[in-house]
Amino acid sequence: MKTISALIAASLLVGASLTASAQENPAADFYKGETISLIVGTGPGGGFDQYARLLAPELSDATGATVVVENRPGGGGITAINQVASADADGLSVMLINGVPAALGQITGAPAVRFKLQDLPFLGRVAAEPWVLLVSKQSGYTSLKDLVEASKGGKTLSFSGLGRVDGPTDTAAVVCEALQLNCKLVVGFKGSSEASLAAIRGDVTGFAVTDRSARDYSQDGSLVPIAVVGHNRSKLLPDVPTIFEAVDVPEDAAFWIDFRAKVVDVGRALITTPGTPDDRVAFLREAFAKILSDPELVKTATDRGLPIDYASGKDVQDTVTEIFGDLPEDKISTIRDVLLSKYF
């Protein structure tokens, strides 16, 4: 009798705790057995795809859901963000976005952008790479100071790039604007490596890339890294000064560098659909926090050439709010002018 009542008591306890846990975390129960689409805005095989395929099994373990990587290339990743932004708000569409073109596309009013980054729930940041300005050995310049002086002497500096707001070009544009340089941006190159060839050949003065690429391109000295466009030095290129260390940036001009650095801080970020229940957003944020701080995963990723630089969903959200929150209309039109027309 005693044992039976003990059993009943025990089962009641277990039952109660189960209901309790279900009440505590309905999001965890929701995801069990569901299918999460982990979307990337590029085709298979590229960097974003590789990150997503690395994260998919981990996300599956952390949530109990089946995670499927979906490639939805188009419009430089913009199309897929549109789709996620207007998907069912069930938290089953998660996307790894490229923060730089997304944020700049929104600010410059790119034709296909139908989302507002500040409205999207951010789940975390996988990586963010600082941008570095390189000059061609052929140009004869070796430092940012040289560039400033040459520009003062009436020389025009040219930088190669792809589109207008997908990284290299806008980095060069904000540097030109902040330091009041005479610049000409030569865009239309098919990829950043082709843009680098133009610099190596000496067709342009230089160009800007992420620190990893900068390290690779500068191996043999045909391109020289002269400054990190931000406040902190790169871990990969510890000897390269920041733009603030390299030259005197006028106080009112620092806005441009800060602005660009914040956009970079969004990095390769994870988003889901606006309107997703808060508990699911919180649950996914927690899942990514755990996954991306796991030293084993960080090591595997780094070995595959996929560096991890985690920031929490909340932090990224704050950065996005800072970028878009207090931008007055006239500032936006100045930004548009600098990024889209002034230096072309």
């Binding site: 188009g74 199309t79 589109g163 030569v186 865009v187 690779d216 191996q219 043999d220 050439g305």
Partner: protein, 491 residues
């Protein structure tokens, strides 16, 4: 160099590498045989398998699968009239009339042999250029790329049969539809009708499949039988085809050289190589009017060049980390996965790997052709499958191919849209190969013209290499006229 060559040889003979090659070879050929599945898809599908492979074996694995795709694709192009990969589109032009004349065995034999020789040639070019690569690539800037692309456009009228006027019209239409989407330099979207899919423009694979596969399938479904080889035994035909290639060594080498050069220059799409080789063969032929009616040269030229271009495309990939083709862009990604860093120092630090890749490229091209020869008795039977079974199967494969490139249903829909265009082209005698060539070259011409004007101003045409290219272009335009006049005088 010799030490590195020996070390490369011994690396290539490692069991792990041999296994990698042996497993990738059939995969690459299969991707080539199946319409719509291209080398790019092969690479994307196989990349996950290289995790954990030894560096060199992993690269050999991917390179093998990628390099032999166009060898497999030539067989589909000839037997079924559907290019197995976009690089085989030019082969259809003369391959199909040859098949209809009962000469499919000869055409396949010639195509495979030309592929093998072209591939080995491409590898040799890579080997010879390895020490002097940097200056060669640096010599070809935006201005030179523009003129090369323009030179490709001058061949529009010469690709395939039919009236030159219709060839030009089809080419112009191809250029026009290439304008859809973001303008390459200003980033302004054109003709996109507020329809997101069109922002990136039309895609090559649905276009190539629509133009070539759909009309062929429609013809099959409406009762036309595939011609079977008649007369000699298929085996004899294959040998005849092989002999035809060896009788035209000059043509094979010239076409391979064209492929290599186009491969080396990153801006010109590798897809153009076979068209340019085809047109060049026609321009330099004593009887250009026979091209498009089923002439063996029309199969040899594109097939030699499309295998040769892979060797060329490896050049900028290894030396600058600048991919020479979209497949190479993925290969570049794999280098990083395997912990290798292509770029300026790669050949200094890893000359043996560079040379090893050259060896692999040469060997697999020959192996692929041999394997396809061995499989021909089985593959040739596909033409005796009744159309009611063959058409649904091929249609499914083609649509799967269209879908798998980007995972986008739009591509499937547009395969049908371009299918209608293809049917119209066939019906009214417009040249589909010219359309495709215009489509591929249009953006390159536009992009590099604008960049050149931006960097150098209009004076860029006076750069030395540009002047040479302009002279070549003029010579190519007038050569057929002058040539035939000379011959008439002699006669």
């Amino acid at each position: 160099m010799l030490d590195a060559l020996i070390s490369a040889g011994s690396q290539t003979l490692q069991p792990a590498v041999l296994w990698a090659v042996a497993s990738a070879l059939p995969v690459g050929l299969l991707f080539g045989l199946l319409p719509g599945l291209s080398g790019l898809t092969a690479m994307a599908v196989l990349i996950p398998f290289v995790y954990g492979m030894d560096g060199f074996a992993g690269l050999a694995f991917l390179l093998t699968a990628h390099a032999v795709v166009s060898t497999g694709g030539s067989v589909t192009a000839i037997l079924l009239g559907i290019p197995g990969s976009p690089a085989n589109a030019a082969t259809v032009v003369d391959g199909v009339p040859l098949r209809n004349a009962g000469q499919s065995g000869t055409a396949v034999g010639a195509a495979l042999t030309a592929s093998a020789i072209g591939g080995v040639f491409g590898a040799l070019v890579l080997l010879v250029l390895l020490p002097v690569l940097r200056p060669v690539i640096l010599a070809f800037g935006p201005a030179e790329t523009f003129l090369l692309s323009l030179m490709g456009l001058t061949f529009l009228a010469a690709v395939g049969a039919g009236s030159p006027a219709r060839g030009l019209f089809a080419g112009a239409f191809g250029i026009f539809i290439s304008f859809v989407g973001y303008e390459p330099v200003s980033g302004v979207p054109r003709y996109w009708l507020d329809y997101d899919y069109l922002l990136d423009g039309f895609r090559l694979i649905p276009l190539a499949l629509g133009l070539f596969a759909i009309p062929e399938l429609v013809a099959l479904a409406s009762g036309r039988m595939l011609e079977q080889s008649k007369g000699e035994l298929p085996g004899t035909q294959l040998l005849n085809g092989m002999r035809a290639v060896f009788d035209r060594v000059g043509l094979v080498l010239r076409s391979s050289a064209i492929g290599s050069i186009i491969g080396i220059i990153p801006g010109v799409g590798g897809e153009t190589a076979p068209f340019v080789a085809y047109a060049a063969a026609r321009q330099s032929s004593p009887d250009p009017e026979r091209f498009g009616t089923g002439i063996i040269e029309g199969v040899i030229a594109p097939e030699a060049s499309n295998n040769a271009k892979e060797g060329g495309a490896l050049v900028p990939t290894l030396v600058f980390g600048v991919p020479g083709s979209s497949g190479m862009a993925l290969l570049l990604g794999a280098f990083l996965v395997l912990g290798l860093q292509p770029g300026p120092n790669f050949l200094r630090d890893h000359l043996d790997i560079g040379l090893g890749l050259v060896l692999i490229l040469a060997v697999v091209n020959v192996l692929a052709a041999v394997l396809m020869f061995a499989l021909m008795p089985i593959l040739a039977r596909v033409v005796s499958v009744p159309p009611r079974l063959l058409v649904p199967f091929l249609l499914m494969l083609a649509l799967l191919g269209a879908y798998s490139t980007q995972g986008d249903m739009h591509d499937v829909v547009f395969t049908f849209v371009f299918g209608a265009v293809g049917l119209a082209c066939v019906r009214y005698g417009f040249n589909r190969a010219a359309l495709l060539l215009g489509f591929v070259l249009g953006p390159a011409v536009e992009r590099y013209l604008e960049i050149s004007l931006n960097i150098y101003g209009p004076g860029f045409v006076f750069r030395p290499i540009c002047l040479v290219l302009i002279a070549l272009m003029i010579a190519a335009l007038f050569a057929p006229k002058i040539g035939s006049r000379l011959r008439r005088k002699r006669a």
